[in-house]
Symmetry: C2
Subunit: 360 residues, 2 copies
C-alpha cells in the first residue's frame, strides 16, 4: 500500500518535504544547538527567521508597502472579534456577507462589538451558493465589508474579489490564502489561520492597510490591537515560534514549487479532476453550482447514505484520513489544500470509482 493521504480540513497536511525538514532540524536547528522552539524569540537566530518569514510572504503575495504584515495568535475566531474591535470603533456599523458557517460565526461575534448589517445571505439554500454582488445591500456608513473567501463546510468559494465600494474590504482567507494570487491592494484587512495552507495552528496572519491601524475601540486588548502589534513587530506577546518556523518552511516550499501562480494551476487541476469524477457519477453528488465550488474543500454525498460507514471504512483501509464531512452537514469532504499532491487526488478518484463499482 502507498502511504497515507490526509484530507483533513484543518489542521491539515503539511507538504511532505516540510515534515522531513522539521525532523532533520531536530534537535539542532541551524547550528544553534537547540530546537527552534527552545530559543528566545528575541535572539538573533529567531529574529532572522521572523524577518525572512515576512520578506518571503511579501514576495509571494506581492504585498504592497501600504500594508503591514502581522503574525498573531488565536486563529480566525480571534479575528472575528479583532476586526470589529480594531475597525468599527465605538458604535460603528459593519456589513457582512453570509455565505456559510464561518460567516455566521463572524457575524455573531461582530454583533457583540458593533452594529451589523447582513448585506446578503445564502442561508436560505443551506449555504450552497454565493449571492450575486448586485443583490448585496451594504450599509453606506459601513466601517468595512466582510466576507469569507472560502467556506470549508459546504465548500463554497468566491471566484473573484468582490467590489466593496467606499468601505474597506475585509476577508477571512483562512482556507484559501496562498492557494492563488490575490490583489492585496484591494483589501483593508486579510486574515487567515495558518493551519490550512501556511503550516500549523497557532499562527494567524493579518495583512492590514496602514491607515486602518488606529481606529481601535478603547477596550481592545493590547495583543489584539493591530497598531500595538505593528509597532512591536508582532511581538507584543511571545509568538508561537514553532508555528512561525513551520510557516517559513512552507513558504520556502511554495516558492520552490513556482509560487502562487503554480499553486493556482495545480489547485485548479486537482479540484477539477475530483468534481469531474463526482459529476460523472450518479452514485456521488455535489450540489454547489459550478461558479461557487471551492477548490479547497470538495464536499460530496453518496446517493445512499446508508453506505457512508462502508465508504469511510474502505477509505481508512486505503490510507485516507479526514474524509468524513463536517458534523454540521454530514456526507463526505475532501480538503485538498496546497500540500495535497496530485497523486493524492488520483488515488481518491480511483477509490471513488472502485467503491461505486463494488457497491453502486
Amino acid at each position: 500500500m502507498e502511504g497515507t493521504v490526509n484530507f483533513s480540513a484543518g489542521p491539515s497536511a503539511l507538504p511532505a518535504p516540510v515534515v522531513e525538514r522539521i525532523r532533520e532540524d531536530l534537535p539542532d536547528w541551524n547550528g544553534t544547538g537547540a530546537c527552534v522552539a527552545e530559543l528566545s524569540h528575541r535572539g538573533e537566530p529567531f529574529m532572522e527567521l521572523a524577518a525572512g518569514l515576512e520578506a518571503r510572504l511579501r514576495r509571494l503575495m506581492e504585498i504592497p508597502e501600504t500594508h503591514r504584515v502581522l503574525f498573531l495568535q488565536g486563529g480566525a475566531q480571534m479575528q472575528f472579534a479583532a476586526v470589529p474591535l480594531n475597525l468599527a470603533g465605538e458604535g460603528g456599523t459593519a456589513s457582512y456577507v453570509d455565505t456559510g458557517a464561518w460567516s455566521a460565526r463572524a457575524i455573531a461575534e461582530a454583533r457583540r462589538f458593533c452594529r451589523v448589517q447582513v448585506a446578503a445571505s445564502s442561508e436560505g439554500d443551506g449555504y450552497r451558493s454565493i449571492p450575486p454582488r448586485g443583490e448585496w445591500e451594504v450599509a453606506p456608513e459601513s466601517a468595512y465589508l466582510h466576507y469569507v473567501a472560502n467556506e470549508t463546510i459546504a465548500g463554497v468559494e468566491f471566484g473573484s474579489v468582490p467590489d466593496s465600494g467606499a468601505a474597506p474590504l475585509v476577508s477571512d482567507m483562512s482556507s484559501n490564502l496562498l492557494s492563488r494570487p490575490v490583489d492585496v491592494g484591494r483589501f483593508g484587512v486579510i486574515y487567515a489561520g495558518a493551519q490550512k495552507n501556511m503550516g500549523v495552528s497557532g499562527l494567524t496572519v493579518v495583512l492590514v492597510r496602514e491607515d486602518l491601524l488606529d481606529r481601535a475601540h478603547p477596550l481592545t486588548p493590547t495583543v489584539v490591537r493591530y497598531s500595538a502589534q505593528a509597532a512591536a513587530g508582532s511581538m507584543a506577546n511571545t509568538p508561537c515560534t514553532f508555528a512561525w518556523y513551520v510557516a517559513s518552511l512552507v513558504l520556502e516550499w511554495i516558492e520552490g514549487e513556482g509560487g502562487l501562480t503554480a499553486m493556482a494551476v495545480r489547485n485548479e487541476r486537482k479540484a477539477s479532476r475530483l468534481y469531474r469524477a463526482i459529476d460523472a457519477s450518479d452514485f456521488y453528488s455535489n450540489r454547489i453550482p459550478a461558479r461557487c465550488r471551492s477548490r479547497m474543500n470538495v464536499s460530496f454525498e453518496l446517493a445512499d447514505e446508508a453506505l457512508d460507514p462502508a465508504f469511510l471504512e474502505g477509505a481508512a483501509e486505503a490510507g485516507f484520513i479526514g474524509l468524513k464531512g463536517h458534523r454540521a452537514l454530514g456526507g463526505m469532504r475532501a480538503s485538498i489544500y496546497n500540500a495535497m499532491p496530485e497523486r493524492g487526488v488520483e488515488r481518491l478518484v480511483a477509490f471513488l470509482e472502485d467503491f461505486e463499482r463494488r457497491r453502486g
Copy 2:
C-alpha cells in the same frame, strides 16, 4: 566538548527526552500516518491527547474539582487583559502587587479595563524585593488580588502563597508553574504561558474556579471568555495542537521524574548551588535578598561590567545559550527551569569559577 546548555528565559529548553520523542514521532505520530500537527483537533487521536493532557495536569497539580482547566492562546500577555475582562465586569476594581516588569505590564493592561489599586510596589528598589504582606493595601471591594509568582527579569519569586482575604487570588505563574507543588484551591485563577516549564509557546494554561466563570465584561471576545472556553473544552477556536502535544510529553516526563515534589527538590538544589557560587565570590554578585530569590531565574552581575563581553564570549564557547541578562537590566541571567539538568548548573558553576580565575 559536551553539548549545548540552554539558559534561555523563555521560550526555553525542553527536557532532552521530550525533544527526542518529538523527533521519533515524525512523520508518523501514534500510528496515525501523520504528524500530530497535521490532524484535526476534533479527531479521535487528538481528542484522546487532549483528555490525557488535562487528566495528567490535574493529577500532577492536584487540581480540585472546583477548578476548570483551560488551554488557551496568547500567553500571559493576553491574560493581562483576559483577567480584568473576565473577573472585574463593568466598572470594577482590582488590586495588584507590583514586584517587577511583568507585574507592571499586567497593571498597565488592567487599567484599560477596570480601576486598579496597586496594593504594594517594590519599584522603588529596582524590583529587587517583595513588599511584606503586612504592608499591602488591598482595596476592600477588589474583584481580585493579582500577583506575579516569579518575576523573570531581576529574578524575584514569592516563597509562599500570600493571603488575599476575601478577594479571589489571581496569579501569573508563567515562569514557575510545575516547578513545585502549589495549593490550587487557594486561587481564583492561575495562568501561565507554557514556554518555561510546560513546553513551547502558543499554549497558555488557565485554572479558574468555577464560580468565577460568569463575571465577564460584555465586550470580552469569545475566545478570551473563560465561560465560553470552558463550555467548548478549550476549543472555541482551533487550539495550537502542537503545543498541546509537547505539553503532554513534558507532563509525562515530569511524572516519570517523580512529579512536582521531585521537581521542587531538584530546583531548590540547582538554585542553591548557583547562588552559593555567586555569593562565595566578590567577582559575581546578586543583590536580591535571600527570601525573594527566584529558583527559576538567577541574575548576577560581574564586578567589572567591562568584562561582560568577554564573559559572554567565553560562555558561548563553552556551549551556553541565553546567559545575557534582560535588556531592561543588563548583567547576566541563568534561567534554570525544570528542564535544566543539574549537570547544566554544574557546568555553569565551573565556568564561573574558571572565568574568575582567569580574569578576576
